[in-house]
Amino acid sequence: MSNEPTPIIEFKNVGLSYDDNSVLKNIDFELEAGKFYTLLGPSGSGKTTILNLISGQLTVTYGDILFEGQVINHVPVEKRHMNTVFQDYGLFPNMNVFENVAFGPSIKGKSKKEIKAKVTEMLELVKLGEYADREITELSGGQRQRVAIARALANDPEVLLLDEPLSALDYKLRKEMQYELREIQQRLGITFVFVTHDQEEALAMSDWIFVMNDGVIQQNGSPEDIYDEPINHFVADFIGESNILDGIMTADYLVHFTGKDFENVDAGMRPNERVEVVLRPEDLDLTTVENGKLVVTIDDQSFRGDYYEITAIDDDGNEWQVQATNKSKVGERVGLTFDPEDIHIMRFNESENDFDARLESYEDDDDNAKK
């Protein structure tokens, strides 16, 4: 880590409180230039607060925020080299599309020619080249969204902050914009910090995800890390669908739950340590009772287009979510099967650092097991 170039943004033990209400606690992270970061969490988790601290709309209660190695705690909003795409766009209704996008460059005192070139370039980038003379009220939600992106990018920011920008769009448009945003980020090569409560969006777009809850970063990592190796109950539950059960780590690579021992690929815990076991619904397969590692009764099923979402109950009364390609019959007894590497173990109150260290200690074995 120490040989890497200066992070573009760095939080050093940052906290924020209103009166006695602590909104953010001991936030520490570094952002590398040119990557797509996502702050993911439910509402009230502090993700937008972090964004507002970066943009300068809020000031830290304690700790330091650094931009390219310089503390910027008290640098006013308008002097920071970053721009924001707001959730409600915040487009100026007294200006047309061109004037909105031209706002930043004209404040900076650019010449008319430069401004025109910049605005044209940005509108092309967001595929609104023909819309320069339109009034804001004449645009659809998706087009306003694009104007907001063009306006923020027209200032040549080094960091683009996006505050749930897609949440007001319908599903199809959202998918399209996810793809386009990712493409714009890669084309321009600037750092994006994207705030969302939509885990699917986060997984699809990001290089790196910070999962937030209760003003604390619960876990950060690549989308794959976060999905495959959630650190605690909250992350496992928030990212994707999960079956979470109480278990006991009988020994390395052996876990006990629902009254049976199962082979798995986790290690490095105390013998007989109480743990939580995570099994993703898409990793579970239905089979005959004889071939099943567990026997369950189908309780409910709903058709989801590309799969059936099945709720089943085992003999201990635990509920299981299963994604199956074939239709089942409600009330039928079936077997449930999964591979050792599908089992993910979470320790109680394990910190991110301890978690990473433990993973590293047996990572090689784990990799071999997967191959």
């Binding site: 308008e78 409600d88 100026f92 706002f103 930043g104 404040i107 923020a152």
Partner: protein, 275 residues
């Protein structure tokens, strides 16, 4: 069904229609009729000829417009920052109420209160007397007239500006700062244009009544400033020349209509000035 609905609508219109005919249209016709006829009821333009040939009346007209303009500028300069500030306060509606409160008091009472404040033996002179300054002639000056007129008109300017500022999404100021504009640039390029409807409404609410002020010109200004309002009052009550009074009245109405037209909401090619 549609017929009964139409009938019902007609029924609702009746009180408004009666009001309109009795108190707006009829007086206007009377005013116009009087200004265009002789004592014997013959058509004439003589009243208008008298008006436009007289240097005195033209000076009064100029005075009316000039002082109404000054009063409007003074109230606007005071009201805009005040409305802006009020909007940023936590209890903004409470503070706004305090600003509006004086409008609940009768105009004449407020005017007399100012006589008490500004007269030679009044509060202001007593106060500066404590500092050893001899009593000043404050009443019956152009300045005292402007002061009192502005004082009375300020709430009517603040209210529409306050409302238009309150309607502006705070996000827009945030976005402007985010794009690199400082507070002054944000005010000039975002807040001010978006509060224009309020400013225009305020100008209408202040400029038009100020054209025909006459009580304050008499009681506070001591008739040093003679406006068209004063002239109309003189013609109707003192010289009893109703025809010339009506003529000036018509001219005043025309001036008001011009003001309304100049400050109206211009509908751009779309509903652009909302928000």
């Amino acid at each position: 069904m549609p017929k009964s609905k139409q009938q019902r609508q007609l029924f609702y219109i009746i009180p408004y229609g009666i009001w309109l005919v009795l108190f707006v249209i009829a007086p206007l016709i009377l005013l116009l009729f009087q200004s265009l006829t002789t004592q014997n009821g013959h058509f004439t333009l003589q009243n208008y000829a008298t008006y436009f040939a007289s240097g005195t009346y033209l000076l009064m007209t100029f005075n009316s417009v000039w002082y109404a303009f000054l009063i409007t500028i003074i109230t606007l300069v005071i009201s805009y920052p005040m409305a802006y500030l009020l909007n940023r306060l936590k209890q903004k509606h409470f503070w706004l109420l305090l600003v509006i409160l004086p409008t609940w008091i009768n105009l004449l009472l407020k005017t007399y209160a100012f006589i008490g404040l500004l007269s030679k033996t009044g509060t202001v002179n007593n106060f500066i007397g404590l500092m050893g300054i001899a009593p000043q002639q404050l009443l019956f000056s152009n300045w005292s007239f402007l002061l009192v007129a502005a004082y009375i008109e300020i709430p009517f300017m603040i209210l529409p500006i306050f409302n238009s500022l309150a309607e502006i999404n705070p996000r827009l100021a945030q976005a402007s700062r985010d794009l690199g504009a400082n507070q002054w640039q944000t005010l000039r390029r975002v807040i001010l244009p978006l509060s224009m409807p309020g400013i225009k409404a305020g100008i209408q609410a202040v400029f038009i009544p100020s054209l025909s002020l006459f009580m304050i010109t008499r009681l506070i200004g001591g008739n040093r400033v003679i406006t068209l309002g004063t002239a109309i009052e003189e013609h109707f009550l003192v010289t009893q020349n109703w025809r010339l009074g009506s003529t000036i009245g018509v001219i005043l109405i025309v001036a008001m209509v011009i003001t309304m037209v100049l400050t109206r909401e211009r509908a751009r090619k779309s509903s652009r000035n909302r928000g």
